[in-house]
């Protein structure tokens, strides 16, 4: 593939290609709509480059295969959609607790339960609050275009390896299924020497390594968790990302991420045409969350509105950051319904007119 040329690719396939180019040659998955093209692409490509594609017996097994591959020191990933991510949560907790890097992809669909298969953002709480049991965080990237999805895959692997923690690409059925032009970055992939901690065989060159999350002494367990949280602070300080759109003079601020942010942007442009000073904060990382940017905007904005494909989940983070200074509203659809720019515009007009 000529990496200088723009190609039209489905989100799911672009994501898989980006992972391969980022040096991930081990993929373990299980079919589920609407992410199956990730697995299909991997199944086609990986055997040709000496990699491993394995269809696991379950999501539970798939994440544990990733656990094994990551423990062995290679870049590994799995991909699923909402119900499958619930099954993976056990493994995600273990990996976070064992300081293992990996990439998990969630191409969200309508939920709860088996739900539907249309686009959704209703796993926000799961991804940012409790991707598994216990005191832990994972990196959560929220792309809004196929190009950004590709770029974020590279970044996710690199930060996962740097901070030795799982990373997630948090997409949805729309981003997974749609095609847009992409360019693959011609980037040197940074190599990480993992021999000092990986369970790859000690070769008689060091003491045996143990990858483990069982710590029976409470004081020792606390020490390790606190240490890990210090690392999380470094991540927060250095890797929180968001886009600010027309924010400088904004009296009203929309907060939206992923597919929804594109719709919000169209609505904001239309509102600006009508003379409403509205801007957008688009978190690119959901953990860490750009609370600072939201808080700063709260100093001059009159009101905020979180727009999501959920019943209102990220709005919690907006409210925390706004800290009661100004009203925070919510608009969204759930169950697989994508909000329209027209609906969002209507809400902006209501907000600006004091009718909310």
């Amino acid at each position: 593939m000529d990496s200088k040329q723009k190609v039209l690719m489905k989100g799911n396939e672009a994501l898989a290609e980006a992972a391969i180019q980022a040096g991930c040659h081990h993929f373990f998955g299980y079919p589920i709509t609407p992410q199956t093209e990730v697995a299909a692409y991997m199944a086609k490509r990986l055997p040709k480059i000496g990699g491993t594609y394995l269809q696991a017996e379950s999501e539970v097994a798939a994440i544990n295969m990733v656990y094994g591959a990551a423990a062995a020191g290679v870049r590994a990933m799995t991909s699923s959609s909402s119900p499958g991510i619930s099954l993976k949560s056990e493994g995600i907790s273990y990996m976070a607790a064992s300081d293992l890097p990996c990439l998990i992809v969630n191409v969200q669909r309508g939920s709860p339960g088996l739900g539907g298969i249309q686009p959704s953002q209703a796993d926000y709480w799961q991804a940012t609050r409790a991707p598994g049991h216990g005191d832990l965080h994972i990196l959560v990237f929220a792309p809004a275009s196929i190009q950004e999805m590709v770029d974020m895959v590279f970044k996710a692997f690199e930060l996962a390896d740097t901070y030795r923690m799982p990373a997630m690409i948090f997409a949805d059925g729309m981003l997974g299924q749609m095609m847009e032009p992409v360019v693959f970055p011609e980037k040197e992939v940074k190599q990480f020497d993992k021999f000092s901690w990986a369970t790859c065989g000690h070769q008689g060159k060091r003491k045996h390594n143990i990858v483990n999350s069982l710590i029976l002494q409470p004081d020792e367990l606390e020490r390790l968790v606190v240490e890990r949280f210090k690392r999380y602070e470094v991540v927060k300080a250095n890797h929180t990302e968001c886009e600010e759109y027309l924010l400088d003079d904004a009296e009203y601020v929309i907060v939206a991420y992923g597919a929804t942010s594109r719709i919000a942007k169209s609505a904001i442009n239309a509102a600006r045409d009508k003379g409403i000073k509205v801007g957008l904060i688009r978190p690119k990382t959901l953990w860490p969350y750009p609370s600072g940017v939201v808080a700063k905007a709260a100093e001059h904005a009159k009101a905020f509105m979180s727009v999501e494909m959920s019943m209102g989940q990220m709005v919690d983070d907006v409210r925390l950051a706004v800290n009661g200074k100004v009203p925070v509203y919510f608009f969204g659809h759930t169950g697989g319904i994508v909000p329209t720019p027209f609906e969002v515009l209507e809400q902006i007009e209501k907000m600006a007119g004091g009718a909310l």
Binding site: T52, N64, G68, S98, A198, G201, H202, N212
Partner: protein
């Protein structure tokens, strides 16, 4: 003076947490001896289960991973697929392997993963204090079968070697016991054969080791050995269930 017996190098010189009379120590030693004899410690990765052997990662000198309950074969798969020339074994109990991890066990077997499973079957959940296991015998009293395992309520025990022997990916499956020296020697030979089978990339290998749990069976170690012979062995016959170590499982 000639040394005729010593601790295998692959078994670290640290105190273990096992109960007095527990047979895990014997099985650990056999695995370590095999690792020593094959000279593979530097390229071996072991996976500890959840259960009594949960802390086996502190006892073996090779690299070790601690798995979630039942997931050891999936983790072993991930490691082996990443490092095909390594030697990967899981060390699992009956609850871990045949209850919560049945899917992982069956599917790693049917895929013919080049891994070795050491399956310790003592018919009871030891670490959590003696509850019914998938291999608890009919009529056997445990904390959760206080009137004896009633098969009309709790169903029947799983015979793991017999079940796995129906799968095409299994290159080697043998059931052994560690109740007495002759059987211990046979157990060691079986473990060595299983590891060799893996090194030669012949397919999935499992050694099921009938063992005792004096603490939760409520017996002395000697009584427990006798109980194993009288009750476990008739239900779980010793012997080789699959041996395709010559040709391997792949076409």
């Amino acid at each position: 003076m000639a040394v005729v017996y010593e601790r295998p190098k692959a078994l670290l010189d640290v105190p273990t947490h096992y109960c007095p009379g527990c047979t895990h120590g014997i099985i650990h030693k056999l695995v370590a001896q095999v690792i020593d004899e094959l000279g593979i410690e530097g390229k071996t990765i072991g996976i500890a289960p959840v259960g009594c052997a949960v802390m086996a990662y502190d006892y073996f000198a090779c690299d070790m991973v601690e798995a979630a309950h039942g997931r050891a074969p999936a983790i072993a798969t991930g490691i082996k697929r990443s490092l095909p020339d390594s030697v990967v074994f899981t060390y699992q109990g009956d609850g871990d392997l045949a209850a919560i991890g049945t899917a992982e066990t069956v599917h790693s077997a049917t895929r013919g993963e080049n891994i070795t499973i050491i399956f310790v079957n003592n018919g009871i959940y030891g670490m959590t204090g003696g509850q019914m296991a998938p291999t608890t015998l009919p009529g056997m009293v445990t904390q959760t079968t206080p009137y004896g395992r009633d098969v009309s309520i709790a169903g029947f025990p799983v015979r793991v070697c017999e079940m796995l022997s129906t799968l095409s990916g299994v290159a080697y499956a043998e059931r052994v016991a560690v109740d007495a020296v002759p059987n211990i020697l046979k157990a060691k030979a079986a473990i060595k054969k299983a590891f060799t089978c893996q090194i030669e990339k012949k397919g999935f290998s499992i050694v099921e080791v009938l063992s005792t749990c004096p603490t939760n069976w409520g017996m002395t170690p000697v009584e427990a050995m006798q109980w194993l012979r009288d009750n476990m062995m008739p239900y779980y016959p010793l012997g080789v269930y699959v041996d395709k170590t010559e040709k391997g499982v792949r076409p």
